[in-house]
């Protein structure tokens, strides 16, 4: 198991200009305690404002809140005394709507919650519904879903990386990461016809098999992504400003992180090597050779390192998946859930009735319930389904990782400076579509 070691060898200096116009390098120092910048301030230039507290509202419409999050901060000077998050601006009642939809009709809703990871949600939901129906998917479908989930993880982390870099003042990585992400969206488009809202899975299989040449496109992406990651790594990892704005912020110890229910990179950055893919495996993840990225300090910088390493590990998993991708059907041979072939449905009476009943009435699982967790880019994403034997679930519950992760923001932000709240908030990797549902 690989552990991301934390050796920050930063030549901490930044190019700056003196009032007289001379360019010189200003030394910065970074250490684990935080960012210390020596500034000589003439004493008495700042009047003492006393202990008056200020209330600051950030969002909901603010680019640094990554959606429609609203934070109400109580400040003492620039120090955050209290942080009260307000959510719900995107609430559309997905779980309520799901109770009025057939099992296959819920799949489009899963696209729209964590919309940076729509493919991963499709797979996660399908796995959960298949457990409820008692279906074992085909070997080809299993490997295709692994590729889908890991690519989805990569693009979600790329968006996180680019937007977080923008939040902290670096614009260029955003362009690099979004360029890579575009390649994956082109791949999605040629596979399932949609870029963002993929709806790629069906209960018992996939909506479509890979088109010809798709694997070549994927291999091209796998060749170019590590270069982009290396470039971003060179740009950020030992960059004085980046280190200064991330090291020592929002620290969660391992026991705190577990107690606050953090999951995904947030939890692993705190030194807990819990990954659903290893601990509660699905889709044969235990047969792939890959490592969990673990941090040591649990600060914003560690979360960055963990996500960077996770993208590299995802590349490893996809390479192995491509090498082992078997031929064969993508859908299970189970008439309870899989539609008959189009040519049969239009030429044979029995198949037409079968098609009609599946579409109009929907497949019916036995009475029961199940919770299937998957490792989404944000953390442990699980779907809890309760069936009463009809074609619509009694309860469709999304276990939202970003919702639980965000609930710890007050704990992480309090005591830090106002500008650090932006970095801490970015490090949670929130997607409001998933939090508000």
């Amino acid at each position: 198991m690989a552990t991301t070691t934390r050796t920050v060898e930063v030549e901490l200096a930044t190019q700056t200009m003196s009032p007289t116009g001379e360019v010189f390098r200003m030394p910065l120092t970074a250490n684990d305690a935080g960012f210390v910048m020596p500034i000589d301030l003439a004493p008495g230039t700042e009047p003492d404002m006393g202990s008056e507290r200020m209330l600051i509202n950030i969002g909901p419409q603010h680019p640094a809140t990554h959606g429609v999050l609203r934070l109400v901060l109580e400040l003492d000077g620039e120090t955050v005394i209290r942080c009260v998050p307000h959510i719900g601006y995107l609430h559309c009642g997905f779980e309520k709507i799901g109770e009025y939809r057939q099992y296959n009709q819920i799949i489009p809703w899963t696209d729209r919650e964590d919309y940076l990871n729509s493919m991963g949600n499709n797979v996660a939901y399908a796995l959960s519904a298949e457990r409820l129906f008692g279906i074992e998917i085909t070997p080809r479908c299993t490997v295709l879903r692994v590729i889908a989930m890991e690519l989805s993880r990569i693009i979600s982390h790329l968006v996180w990386l680019g937007t977080t870099a923008i939040d902290l003042g670096a614009f260029t990585p955003f362009l690099w990461t979004f360029q890579e992400r575009e390649t994956v969206y082109n791949l999605w488009e040629s596979w399932v016809g949609a870029r963002l809202t993929t709806s790629a899975t069906r209960i018992g299989g996939m909506a479509a098999d890979l088109p010809s040449g798709w694997i070549d496109g994927l291999k091209g992406f796998l060749r170019s992504l590590p270069k982009t990651l290396d470039e971003t790594d060179r740009m950020l990892t030992r960059n004085g400003i980046w280190v200064g704005r991330t090291v020592g912020l929002g620290i969660m110890t391992a026991s705190e992180a577990i107690n606050y229910g953090l999951s995904g990179p947030m939890l692993r950055a705190s030194g807990v090597a819990y990954d659903v893919r290893k601990d509660v495996p699905y889709l044969d993840y235990e047969t792939y050779d890959w490592d969990i990225a673990v941090g040591t300090k649990g600060d914003v910088y560690d979360r960055y390192l963990v996500r960077m390493e996770e993208m590299r590990q995802s590349v490893r998993i996809i390479e192995q998946a491509v090498a082992r991708l078997p031929d064969g059907p993508i859908n299970v041979d189970d008439p309870r859930v899989i539609l008959p072939a189009k040519i049969k449905a239009t030429s044979e009476m029995e198949s037409m009735i079968h098609h009609f009943k599946l579409v109009m009435e929907g497949p019916r699982p036995p009475i029961g319930e199940c919770y299937v967790a998957t490792e989404s880019p944000k953390g442990e994403k699980g779907y809890y389904l309760v069936s009463d034997g009809t074609s619509k679930p009694v309860r469709w519950r999304i276990r939202p990782p970003a919702f639980v992760n965000l609930s710890a923001i007050s704990k992480m932000a309090e005591g830090h400076l106002l500008s650090d709240v932006i970095a801490i908030n970015a490090s949670i990797d929130i997607v409001m579509g998933e939090i508000d549902r």
Partner: protein
């Protein structure tokens, strides 16, 4: 800080977990924590069943905090991770409303579903497990927001996804219509009449000295919103 490895409490030669195959609908291995719970809490623990490989144990709702605390702290259990808190109301009105807690033991790699039955026609109240698991804070607020279950001892039980003055009820209850209780025109009227300052709670405003310097009419409006008018 050293790395916390899940499965650390298991014997050394325990094989790594694998993807489950051919999970039976009913029956299978029962989570050993059920027997331990029975031994510890006796009649507080009700029946249990195994569905699709997951053990569900029914408990007395009023004892959930003691049970959660014991499950977390007992060295033979160590359920240190609260996965989810939610509720289920069945379409069959004769069935009870179920509170559901999903807990996971990272050291033992166990997963347990704890359920408690509540009477949907009575006052819905269970003890909060926020003192045991901090993650329960928002999860319980969401259950309160959606089902109207009150959590005794919760530090900050407010609506979370809906706004505080939301008057239509609890959306995930089965008697709540899909489109909401109010007509579209009523919803629009309310939205247009809403106060732009309403999103601040009084608690938030009171910390700011600026509140006392607000114009009197604005202050009065805010107080009115708080009072529900």
């Amino acid at each position: 800080m050293s790395v916390v490895l899940p499965g650390a409490a298991l014997p050394k030669n325990t094989p790594d977990p694998v993807t489950p195959r051919t999970v039976p609908h009913r029956g299978g291995d029962v989570n050993p924590s059920v027997e331990a719970l029975r031994a510890q809490f006796g009649a507080t623990i009700g029946r249990h069943d195994v569905t699709w490989g997951e053990t569900t144990v029914w408990i007395d709702a009023t004892k959930v905090r003691e049970i959660a605390l014991w499950l977390r702290d007992d060295p033979t259990q160590q359920y240190d991770y609260l996965v989810d808190v939610t509720a289920v109301e069945h379409r069959d009105a004769a069935m009870p409303l179920e509170m559901v807690w999903h807990v996971r033991s990272l050291p033992y790699r166990r997963f347990l579903r704890i359920k408690a039955a509540l009477d949907p026609n009575a006052e819905l109240e269970v003890p909060s497990i926020e003192p045991v698991y901090k993650s329960a804070n928002w999860l319980e607020r969401e259950v309160y927001d959606m089902f109207g279950v009150r959590f005794g001892g919760h530090s900050d039980l407010r609506r979370i996804l809906l706004w505080e003055s939301y008057a239509e009820g609890f959306p995930l209850r089965k008697d709540f219509p899909l489109r909401g209780r109010f007509s579209r025109s009523e919803q629009l009227t309310q939205a247009l009449a809403a106060n732009p300052e309403a999103p601040y709670s009084m608690e938030e405003l009171s910390v700011a000295d600026a509140f006392h310097e607000l114009p009197a009419d604005m202050r009065e409006r805010l107080l009115r919103v708080k009072a529900g008018g």
